[in-house]
Each structure stands twice: as structure tokens, then as C-alpha cells.
């Protein structure tokens, strides 16, 4: 069994500096939290890159390795990256390092890079041949879909229950591979080859004896013709495989075009948000300018108050002085000029007693217009409004930057898609379908000819047996042994596949019921010959209209069932697998993860499953937590959550 021990990434995507994840050795679930664009899918791709030297983008398209270099470092002219994966397999520790280094100063495409895979078993570095053989044995690429998977791709498994599906048989073939069927098929092929070899020896031997010479020659001739038909059949089968693969790729591309459109839509929305943020900044700056025109007044608030108080006091003093002057004049003249009346001696004496010396002059009255100006001065406090507008300006700038980063990332994702080729895809698809029909007809013809030839060969073999020379007897014994063994393996293939289907069905049912929220209604899953699973109700009727969430749970159940029943076992690394699930299903799936594989690595964003919920659902099965910490839009660090 393969078990991940440590992943180190350096310059890979947003991981500018060397970052490390240590996977505990105990069975359980490792959760890695990260918001969108922080590098969750990049981590999944780092493992894929270490094993296969390739990185997949949306729609399972290979991404250019040139686009993987950290953008911040690339802006400084530092290109290239490296991934080191340490894992155990079959009781031994392996260290797999793969780096992608530029061979020119300013690389522009993948051809400007050199890849250097290095595999160490213990402390011994394996040679290229041994390395490739070991990697093919440890983690065959065509079964990687069951170990490294993107939640988005789970819907592919719906194809397994669709007749005439092209993707279905491809997945079905990959399923048989993980379940070990190719071992039986290879044995049958090799044994048949050796039996044919023995037949040729028998024909040659028979040709040397007079009694069997004619039969020997005929057998030799028939065997040669059989080989020709076999070669033609193999060629046609290869052509069929190529066309089928092409058909699948075109179908995936047609599906990816839809995703491409969705990405374009996201990009348009992000661009609109940028435009809105820019417009908002212009408006806010204008508002700020308007407020700032008046805002200086608040700075003068205190000096104006002091000046106003002083002017008020001066005016008051002048009024009082004026009153004194009027009284003094009335005392001098015995006549009040205000009320125009003479005043008595007695009153004059009393008024004289109230007179005080004054120092103010008539100049004091000039303070009246100044006081008026000072009183009309608007010194309202605008600092709150200014603060609000400055904050709004900052928010809009952040929004513009964030959306700018999003557009940049979406542009990267869109870079690999070429709108021009989309137009020709449908035409190519029709052509491929026509070619497939022709090839299928050719295969049927060759198979029929081979069957007829096989009957003749069998008749000739019987006749040659009559000769019974010592050499012929030995050859015959060899033929019997290998041909008999080939038959055993042929029967074993059917028997093993039937047995597997039963076991996968039982395991998938158990997992499905553990993960479904409709346990009272659903009875079990039923498997078809392509490993497609149908939900059966308790009354035995199949569920006709499966929701997107139900499809998702069925696919996850299949994943777990394959892991349980496969001779090929390893970790499951899941990227955002809860996209189509409601809260109840998400909780059930998280709770059942440990049943799917011994080692599960879950890459999620916290709005899918928060830390508290993950801890509560997984309990002691949660063996480690990491978070992807944003340093900048182009730089992420991996931090262990304590």
C-alpha cells in the first residue's frame, strides 16, 4: 500500500518559498483548509506532478508547466519549481523529487524547461529504467483518478450507468485496472503467445516426419495466416482504442467548452466588479474633495471661537462705555439726549454717582461687523465624513486589487483554451464517429476469420498428434500446459470480475447508506457490468431521477468501494468534494471518510466545512490540520494548525 509521508513544494504555484506538509503515519484524515485561489488544487497537482510530471487544469486539461512557476518569483526573473514527495510502499521508504528548471534566461513555453525526476528507494537512487518501472508499479497513471480527485470531476461517474457512453468504458477499464484485472489479462495474453510459439515448434517438428509432413506444412501455413489476422486485429483494436480515446477527449473538450464559458462569465463579472470599484473610487475621491473644501474650517474652529469671544467682549465693553458717556453728557447738560427730556438736580446727582472712568474709544464699534463675520463662520466638524470617505476609498482599492488578482488567475486558467479550436471540435467529433464504425466492422470481420482458422488449426493439431515422436510429445506437453493455463486465466477473468462486482456493490451500498440522508427510503445500490451504480428503493424500484447530490454520494461510495476491494491501495486526496452536497450529506460524508481509505487528505474551504465542524465530525480520526495562509495574492504559506 502507498502512504504519503511528506510533501515539499518550492516555487510551485502560489507556494513561492519551500513549504512542507507532514502526513502522520497513523490512519485517519488530514484536513487542509484554504480559501479560493490559495492553492488547494495546486497541492493536489503537486502530488500529480511528482508522480507523472503533469499538472491538470479545469476540465482535466493539461496545463503548461511554464504557467506553474510562482508568479511573484517569475516577475523577478526566477522561473522553475520543484516538488519532493516522500512515501512508503511495500515496507520501503521512497523519495520522489521532480523539478522543472528553465534552460533559457526568459522561458516562454514548456520547451524552455528541463524536467529532472529522481527516485530514491531508501538511500539508493534508482536508474531511469528502474525508476519508471517502479513508479508504474507503485502508482499507475491510469488509475490516478481514484486517488487524486477533484470534486468537480465526480460527475463523470454518472457515465457508468449510461449505455453507449464513451467515458463510461474508459472509467470502467480504469476500475478494472485498480481491481487487478489486467494481471489476469496479461497472463492470458502471454500464455496464448507461448502456446502459439509451441504450436509453431510442433508444426516444424511435424514437417520433418514423412507421416505428418503435409499436416505440419498446413499447420505452419495456418499459423502464419492466424498471425497475420492477429496482427491486423491488434492493429484495428489499437486504432479503435485511439479513436475511442479521441472521442472521449473530444467529449470532454465539448464539456470543457461549457466550463470555459463559465470561466469567461466569471472573468466578465470580476472585470465588471473592477470597473465598479474604479468608478466608485472616482466618485468617492470627488466627494472627498468636496468635503475637504469645507473641512479646513474645522481646523480654524478654536481660533475663530477665541476671536469671536474677544470681539464679543470688546463690543460689550464699548456698549458699556457708550452708556457711561451718555450718562456723563446728561449730567453735564441736565438733558438726556436719548429721551430728549430735562432731568432734575436730584437725578443728575444720582447719575453722577454711577459714573465710572472708561478707557474705550469709538474704535470699539468697528468690532461689530467683525463679530458678525465671526458669528457667521461655519465651523461644523467634517472629520467623521472625511474618515468614512477615506475608508471607503481604501475598501474600493482593495476590491479592485482582489478582483484584479481574480482576473489574472482566471486568465491563467483560460490561457490553455483556444476559442478558435472550439469551432472545429464538433466536425472532428463526427469524423471520429464515422471512423470508429468502420474500424468496428473491420474487427468483426477479422474475429470471424480467426475463429474459422482456429477450427482448422485444432483439426491439424489432432492429426499431428498421431505421429508421437519424442520431441513432438514434449512440445505437445508444453502446448497443453500453457494453453490449459491460458484457459484457466480466461475463465478466471470472468469469474474474478463477477466476484468483484458483487463485492464492490456490497461495499458501495454500505458506504452509500452511511453517507446518504435518505436511509429510510433507499435499500441498496445495484451494480452493472461497467461498475455503474443504480440506487434501489426499498420496494426494489430504481431511483429514476437522481439529484446532483445523490450522484455525488454514489460516486464517493464507488471510490471507497474500489479502495476496499482493490489489490492496489493508496491515499485518497480530495479537492473540494462537497460542492454539490447539502449540509446533511456533507456531514455524513465527512463522518464516513475514514471508511473510504486508510489515509485521506481533504482539501476544503471553510465555508464547506468549518474547523469546528470538521473536528466534531471526525473526532480522533482527524490526525492533522493545515491551513493555506495568504501572504499576498501571489504567495501562500502552509501552516500547521496546532
Amino acid at each position: 500500500m502507498l502512504r504519503l509521508m511528506r510533501l515539499e513544494v518550492d516555487g510551485f504555484g502560489p507556494f513561492a518559498d519551500r513549504q512542507v506538509i507532514d502526513f502522520p503515519t497513523s490512519p485517519g484524515v488530514v484536513v487542509i483548509y484554504g480559501e479560493n485561489m490559495r492553492g488547494k488544487t495546486t497541492l493536489l497537482n503537486a502530488i500529480r506532478y511528482a508522480f507523472f510530471g503533469e499538472v491538470l487544469g479545469r476540465g482535466s486539461f493539461k496545463r503548461q508547466l511554464h504557467s506553474i512557476s510562482n508568479r511573484e518569483l517569475a516577475a523577478d526573473g526566477k522561473y522553475g519549481f520543484g516538488v519532493t514527495l516522500t512515501f512508503s510502499f511495500g515496507g520501503e521508504i521512497y523519495e520522489l523529487h521532480r523539478s522543472c528548471e528553465p534552460v533559457v534566461v526568459e522561458p516562454a513555453s514548456d520547451s524552455d524547461y528541463r524536467q529532472e525526476p529522481l527516485l530514491k528507494r531508501g538511500s539508493a537512487v534508482l536508474g531511469p529504467q528502474e525508476r519508471d518501472r517502479a513508479l508504474a508499479r507503485i502508482f499507475p497513471k491510469d488509475i490516478s483518478r481514484f486517488f487524486l480527485f477533484d470534486g468537480e470531476l465526480l460527475q463523470e461517474y454518472e457515465e457508468l450507468i449510461i449505455s453507449e457512453s464513451v467515458v463510461g468504458p474508459q472509467i470502467s477499464s480504469a476500475i478494472e485496472r485498480i481491481l487487478g484485472v489486467p494481471i489476469l489479462k496479461a497472463a492470458r495474453r502471454h500464455l496464448t503467445e507461448l502456446a502459439d510459439e509451441a504450436d509453431k515448434q510442433a508444426a516444424a517438428e511435424a514437417s520433418r516426419h514423412k507421416a505428418t509432413e503435409g499436416w505440419g506444412i498446413s499447420l505452419n501455413h495456418a499459423l502464419q495466416k492466424g498471425e497475420e489476422h492477429q496482427r491486423e486485429l491488434a492493429r484495428l483494436s489499437e486504432v479503435q482504442r485511439t479513436f475511442s480515446k479521441l472521442k472521449g477527449e473530444i467529449e470532454a473538450k465539448l464539456s470543457a467548452d461549457r466550463k470555459y464559458a463559465s470561466l469567461l462569465d466569471q472573468r466578465d463579472k470580476a472585470q465588471s466588479a473592477i470597473n465598479e470599484a474604479v468608478k466608485g473610487q472616482v466618485e468617492t475621491r470627488a466627494a472627498l474633495k468636496r468635503v475637504m473644501v469645507e473641512a479646513w474650517r474645522s481646523v480654524l474652529r478654536e481660533p475663530v471661537r477665541v476671536a469671536r469671544d474677544a470681539a464679543q467682549a470688546a463690543l460689550q465693553a464699548r456698549v458699556e462705555a457708550l452708556e457711561q458717556e451718555l450718562r456723563a453728557a446728561a449730567v453735564d447738560r441736565g438733558h438726556c439726549s436719548v429721551c430728549d427730556q430735562d432731568i432734575s438736580r436730584d437725578l443728575r446727582q444720582r447719575l453722577a454717582a454711577t459714573l465710572r472712568p472708561t478707557s474705550t474709544t469709538a474704535e470699539g464699534m468697528k468690532g461689530v461687523p467683525r463679530l458678525r463675520e465671526l458669528a457667521s463662520f461655519d465651523d461644523a466638524d467634517r472629520s467623521g465624513e472625511v474618515r468614512h470617505l477615506v475608508r471607503r476609498l481604501q475598501e474600493l482599492a482593495v476590491e479592485e486589487k482582489a478582483k484584479g488578482d481574480e482576473v489574472h488567475d482566471l486568465d491563467s486558467a483560460l490561457k490553455d483554451a483556444d476559442p478558435a479550436t472550439v469551432r472545429s471540435t464538433q466536425a472532428t467529433y463526427t469524423e471520429v464517429i464515422e471512423n470508429l464504425t468502420i474500424v468496428k466492422s473491420g474487427i468483426a470481420g477479422e474475429t470471424e476469420k480467426l475463429a474459422t482458422l482456429e477450427t482448422s488449426i485444432e483439426r491439424l493439431r489432432d492429426k499431428i498428434r498421431i505421429a508421437r515422436t519424442q520431441d513432438l510429445t514434449a512440445i505437445e506437453a508444453r502446448t497443453r500446459l500453457v494453453r490449459g493455463a491460458a484457459t484457466v486465466f480466461r475463465e478466471a477473468i470472468d469469474s474474478y470480475k463477477a466476484d468483484l462486482r458483487q463485492r464492490v456493490e456490497a461495499s458501495a451500498t454500505e458506504l452509500f447508506l452511511a453517507m446518504s440522508t435518505e436511509r429510510t427510503d433507499y435499500a441498496r445500490l445495484s451494480i452493472n457490468s461497467d461498475y455503474g451504480l443504480t440506487i434501489l428503493h426499498k420496494d426494489g424500484r430504481p431511483e429514476e431521477a437522481r439529484s446532483a447530490g445523490a450522484e455525488h454520494v454514489v460516486a464517493l461510495a464507488l471510490m471507497g468501494a474500489l479502495q476496499r476491494n482493490a489489490p492496489l491501495r493508496g491515499p485518497i486526496v480530495m479537492d473540494s468534494p462537497f460542492g454539490r452536497l447539502d449540509e446533511g450529506h456533507t456531514s455524513n460524508v465527512v463522518g464516513a471518510l475514514h471508511k473510504m481509505a486508510e489515509q485521506v487528505v481533504l482539501l476544503i474551504y471553510e465555508s464547506e466545512v468549518g474547523r469546528g465542524r470538521a473536528r466534531s465530525l471526525l473526532g480522533p480520526r482527524l490526525i492533522a490540520e493545515y491551513e493555506l495562509e495568504r501572504i499576498s495574492s501571489r504567495r501562500t504559506n502552509i501552516r500547521k494548525v496546532q
Binding site: G180, I183, A187, T487, E491
Partner: protein
């Protein structure tokens, strides 16, 4: 990722041999399976190992 022993496959082969081909040497079948497991996807390696297994088994078959 290979399980150290492919017990399920071994068992099915053993059952078919015992029930349908009792004259066929079970050691040879086991050797073929082991050859396929250890040779990975290397056809030449597998064929060499199966030939060697047949050579080992055939004299035994003739004497038995």
C-alpha cells in the same frame, strides 16, 4: 500500491484449476501469476519468467 499478495485472484485461479482442470500443475499457475505481478508491465520479463516456470514444471509433469 500493489498488495503484497493478490489473495483473491489466487483463490479464484485455484478454484478453477481444482474444479475444471485438475491435471494442470497448480505450481505453474501460481508461478505465472507471480511472474505477472513482479514483471509489472514488462512483457519480455513476464514471458521469460513464464517460460522458465514451464521448463521447471514440465519434467515434473512427465515423471508424474
Amino acid at each position: 500500491m500493489m498488495k503484497s499478495e493478490l489473495e483473491d485472484i489466487r483463490l479464484i485461479i485455484k478454484n478453477i484449476q481444482e474444479q475444471r482442470f485438475p491435471d494442470l500443475d497448480p505450481d505453474f499457475l501460481d508461478a505465472v501469476l507471480s511472474a505477472e505481478i513482479t514483471s509489472g508491465e514488462d512483457d519480455e520479463l513476464a514471458l521469460r519468467a513464464i517460460r522458465a516456470a514451464a521448463d521447471r514444471v514440465l519434467p515434473k509433469s512427465r515423471t508424474s
